[in-house]
């Protein structure tokens, strides 16, 4: 599949799984996903990742099933919102988090969070998968089922090469 085509199919998969509210803060690793969401008029860009989580919480209570897109640097910003809002109040959403600093291969500012991210997700009891291209559709289905069953967020981690 060509560049951009994976992103389009990924967005198709999210919409087919029932996700209908998209917010977040951009990362270059998902720029094709964001461009596709924007082209469909589905994306509400936010100023900070925790603010995006707040908007997602409101949208969920209004009957939507939200996705929050962010770089993993934003996961740090988001921890209090996840802990004292989504996990506490049982508000599901899908976190689509890019994996900057994976395997220690990135600019220096990404290395610490890139190293601890999987453990951080475990520590916060956030189920997560980091699909390869061929597993993306299956893992979107897994995420949708998981967050509906648990009424809590789950995370799809975006490897640097997923949409490259």
């Amino acid at each position: 599949m060509g560049r951009g085509e994976v992103a389009v199919r990924f967005v198709d998969g999210l919409v087919a799984a029932g996700f209908d509210f998209f917010t977040g803060v951009p990362c270059s690793l998902v720029k094709d996903v964001l461009a596709e969401l924007d082209a469909r008029g589905l994306y509400f860009g936010e100023t900070r990742e925790d603010a995006a989580l707040g908007v997602a919480a409101g949208a969920y209570m209004a009957g939507r099933l939200p996705v929050v897109v962010m770089q993993n640097s934003g996961l740090g910003v988001s921890l209090n919102a996840l802990g004292s809002l989504h996990l506490l109040y049982e508000m599901p959403c899908l976190l689509l988090v890019t994996w900057r600093g994976m395997d220690g291969q990135d600019a220096p500012e990404h290395l610490v969070i890139g190293d601890v991210m999987p453990r951080l997700l475990d520590l916060f009891d956030l189920p997560h998968r980091a699909p390869r291209v061929e597993d993306a559709a299956r893992d979107i289905g897994w995420a949708a089922e998981t967050i509906r069953a648990r009424r809590k967020p789950a995370c799809l981690v975006v490897r640097p090469d997923l949409f490259a």
């Binding site: 509400f44 100023t47 109040y89």
Partner: protein, 189 residues
């Protein structure tokens, strides 16, 4: 005027609006004055009440949303002043009860005596911005704030009340509050 007195002036004017209250004394005071299925109390995640209200307002543009915040909460999430103004939801009202202090944690001063939060909302581009300093002015202003198209920002200057909480702790569990707000919004359980 204390926060509780201000809320008692606002309460009779509320109908079926979704009311989102920020954490700490704001929620406790409001819970003590008026509690309905359409009331949401954000007991943690300081700063995000306006973001939660924005999400509801965007998803349900026909339903009025009123956010109740203190000055500390507004200052913690100033980006949302910009985001609300930019998205311009007509059904969004933000009431900022400004006592110039973090009352819930011991009345440490904020900086809202030096930085006019209502002027920040105006500069951001809220459609309607007001400021009231007395109970009489709040009584006169609140019907129009709730009735006219937003986004609206009303700064209500209040005094720091007597020591101690202005209302009881919230007795609803957080998952119950999520479920009842979803019922109030007609979302499937």
């Amino acid at each position: 005027m204390t926060v509780r007195e201000a809320l008692e002036i606002v309460a009779p004017h509320l109908r079926d609006q979704i009311c989102v209250h920020s954490n700490g004394y704001m929620s406790r005071a409001a819970f003590g004055v008026r509690d309905t299925e359409a009331c949401f109390y954000m007991i943690g995640s300081m700063g995000l009440a306006s973001s939660i209200g924005l999400g509801i307002a965007l998803a349900r543009p026909e339903r009025g949303v009123v956010v109740f915040e203190g000055d500390g909460n507004v200052l913690m999430n100033l980006g949302t002043l910009a985001r609300v103004a930019s998205a311009a939801p007509g059904n969004f009202v933000q009431l900022c009860f400004d006592n110039r202090a973090h009352a819930s944690t011991g009345a440490q001063p904020t900086i809202s005596d030096q930085v006019r939060l209502d002027e920040m909302a105006r500069a951001a581009g809220y459609r309607r911005v007001g400021r009231v300093e007395t109970a009489g002015d709040l009584e006169r202003e609140i019907p129009a704030v709730l009735a006219e198209p937003g986004p609206s920002f009303l700064l209500v200057r209040i005094e720091l009340g007597p020591d101690g909480p202005p209302g009881p702790r919230i007795t609803h569990t957080p998952p119950e509050m999520t479920a009842r707000l979803r019922r109030a919004l007609g979302a499937a359980s």
